[in-house]
Amino acid sequence: MVLRKGKKNQRYEIEESPNIHLLTVLGIRKGIEVIIQSKQMFGGPVVVRAGNRSIAIASNVAEEIKVREVV
């Protein structure tokens, strides 16, 4: 599934991530686990926690990030 469709407070492992430089240096890349912290209204960004930081990811980018649920 894609990150944008994910549920709040659920942990996901990233399986595939678009090759956007800023995304990778922010630590969002294959194999990393993230928790969805919040989703914004009006098609706003998805905020995920990666490690100890919150990162806001535009919904159209979150649409391209493939993830797997981690229990």
Binding site: V25, S38, G44, P45, A56
Partner: protein
């Protein structure tokens, strides 16, 4: 390019990711003389200050924060150029709460063969989050000194300087250039070795950090923050003005100046120009210092506090969905808010925009419909005592126009903005010294850039009003002023002076005894009217003469058209 030092001066670079407390460290390590420089040929500014420590004298350059050095943005290019430009030492600041991401830049910097010292900063926050890092092991892994610091509490800064002194001139091998994937796995190895983490019950700040990025309760919190900010600026400004500044100006300074001038100059035009009702020494003191300054001062206190606390990017996240409908990514809300202080730094701030269209749109919105703090002060003086609903109407109108202008420009202009990818920084209490330094710089800029033109405007106002030139000028533009806008012909002075400073389009109306409708019309003219001369100048500099003239002419047209419309509609009801 950087200014070259004298021979014995060292060139020290302060580098790191964004939001790692680099500016705080910078302000603590350097003295009072701080300069902002522009890297030639780019829109990237960096700050330079002096280090003056026994055995260690040199310039410290606060390199723009970057996540890597792969030269995918202007800031990264500048960072690389500054390193290649002959750095003697690099002080690289690491964020202890997010070590893995920070190590990316840390390892890349070792490829240059420049002596490096690492500051492991924000250790207190890390501890609060249950993270502990073995500093000695980390130092061994990085092959360079690592100093634990809590910059905000001055911890570790002396050690940083002492160690910097020690490593100056040491020979450092360039480390091998790794491919991204290899570097990342090396980082994972290092982190596994040096970092341990225990789950901790979230503290209040962490809960607040979480709430402020949720639509609920984040959006109510955002409103609360904005209402409190507004209350401090407007309420506090009114208090300062009425309780302190106006009495001082009216009871002490003005009578004194009038007395002194009257001693030397007999009654007549010259005396009127100097100390008449519109005299240079009368309004020249009252307007800038009693009516405008308190609002500007309080605005910058509030804004700098919000900025340093890490709250503003959260507003950007919450507003992104809605603002994007206007074609503007959410982070621009920070630039727009800045415009409520002064349009000049806000327009320079549009450099952070990700596309030309976005930049032009934000700059236009600020020029068209965002009243600056000076103007707010003027509006409050004009409307606050007469009609609070009228004051609220003016600000609601500015929102409506912002949305309309935004929608129109989004339709007319071509171009795509970058999607939002943003690290939300930790919330923290701003550091007092860094905060005061910033406040001082901002007030200095305001006093130099704004008060100067304002005084010139007031001199023109005094001469024009007290010598009778105004009367003949009024006749020329009276069709617009009297028939279309329904204002007395003396209000022409506002239109004339509004070109120089925004608030000068409002303040002359104070003396005219207007009806509430006339006050609203006058305020609407002032709200949309040509941004001041300084804004015109900065638009020319940052964009082009064409953009500046287009914005200038359309704002004047919109102001007069719209205000006239309101006048004629209003007359139907009065």
């Amino acid at each position: 390019m950087t200014k070259k030092n004298e021979k014995d001066q060292l060139n020290i670079l302060l580098m790191g990711n964004p939001n790692v407390g680099k500016s705080v460290i910078f302000s603590k390590l350097t003295g009072v003389n701080v300069e902002i420089s522009n890297f030639t040929g780019t829109t990237v500014d960096y700050t330079v200050g002096n280090i003056n420590f026994p055995g260690l004298k040199g310039q410290l350059i606060d390199v723009p924060g970057t996540y890597s050095l792969e030269s995918t943005s202007e800031a990264e290019d500048v960072a690389v150029k500054l390193v290649n430009d002959g750095a003697d030492v690099i002080i690289c600041v690491l964020d202890a709460t997010h070590l893995s991401r920070n190590l990316d830049l840390a390892l890349q910097l070792k490829e240059f063969g420049v002596p490096i010292i690492y500051c492991l900063n924000l250790l207190d926050v890390a501890e609060r989050q249950g993270i502990s890092i073995d500093v000695e092991k980390l130092s061994k892994e990085l092959g360079a000194p690592v100093i634990p610091t809590v910059a905000i509490k001055n911890q570790g800064l002396r050690d940083t300087l002492l160690t910097t002194k020690d490593i100056v001139g040491t020979k450092v091998e360039k480390s091998e250039v790794l491919k991204n994937e290899d570097r990342w796995s090396k980082i994972d190895e290092i982190v596994a070795k040096v970092q341990t983490k225990v789950e901790k019950e979230p503290s209040f700040i962490e809960k607040l950090e979480d709430w402020t990025v949720q639509p609920w309760p984040g959006i109510p919190i955002a409103f609360l923050v904005l209402v409190i900010s507004l209350g401090v600026v407007v309420g506090g400004g009114k208090g300062l003005r009425a309780g302190l500044l106006l009495p001082i100006v009216n009871n002490i300074i003005k009578p004194f100046l009038i007395k002194v001038v009257s001693m030397f100059i007999g009654p007549g035009i010259l005396r009127n120009v100097l100390v008449g009702d519109f005299g240079i020494f009368v309004i020249g003191i009252e307007w800038p210092f009693a009516l405008i300054l308190p609002y500007v001062f309080l605005f910058y206190i509030v804004f700098s506090f919000l900025e340093d606390s890490g709250y503003l990017p959260r507003l950007g996240v919450l507003a992104d969905g809605l603002l994007r409908k206007l074609g503007i990514p959410g982070s621009n809300i920070i630039t727009i808010m800045m415009g409520y202080g002064c349009a000049v730094p806000a327009i320079i701030g549009t450099r952070a925009a990700t596309s030309y269209k976005e930049r032009l749109m934000v700059a236009s919105l600020i020029s068209f419909a965002v009243p600056c703090a000076s103007q707010t002060g003027a509006f409050i003086s004009l409307l606050g005592d007469r009609s609070i609903p009228a004051l609220i109407f003016i600000y609601l109108l500015s929102f409506v126009i912002m949305i309309v202008v935004g929608l129109l420009m989004n339709l007319l202009l071509k171009g795509e903005s970058q999607p939002m990818l943003l690290e939300v920084p930790n919330l923290l209490m701003p550091d007092k010294k860094a905060f005061l330094t910033k406040l001082k710089l901002r007030m200095k800029h305001f006093l130099l850039d704004a008060e100067g033109p304002m005084l010139i405007g007031i001199v023109i106002a005094a001469i024009v009003a007290e010598t009778g030139i105004l009367d003949s000028l009024s006749v020329t533009i009276s069709p617009i002023v009297v028939s279309w806008l329904g204002l007395p012909k003396e209000a022409s002075l506002s239109l004339l002076l509004g070109i120089i400073r925004r608030e000068l389009a409002v303040l002359p109306l104070l003396e005219l005894n207007l009806t509430t409708l006339q006050l609203i019309v006058g305020s609407v003219v002032a709200l949309f009217y040509l941004p001041c001369l300084s804004v015109f100048g900065v638009l020319m500099e940052e964009f082009s003469a064409k953009v500046a003239v287009t914005i200038g002419i359309s704002t004047v047209f919109l102001a007069i058209f719209f205000a006239g419309l309101i006048n004629h509609i209003g007359l139907l009801f009065v």
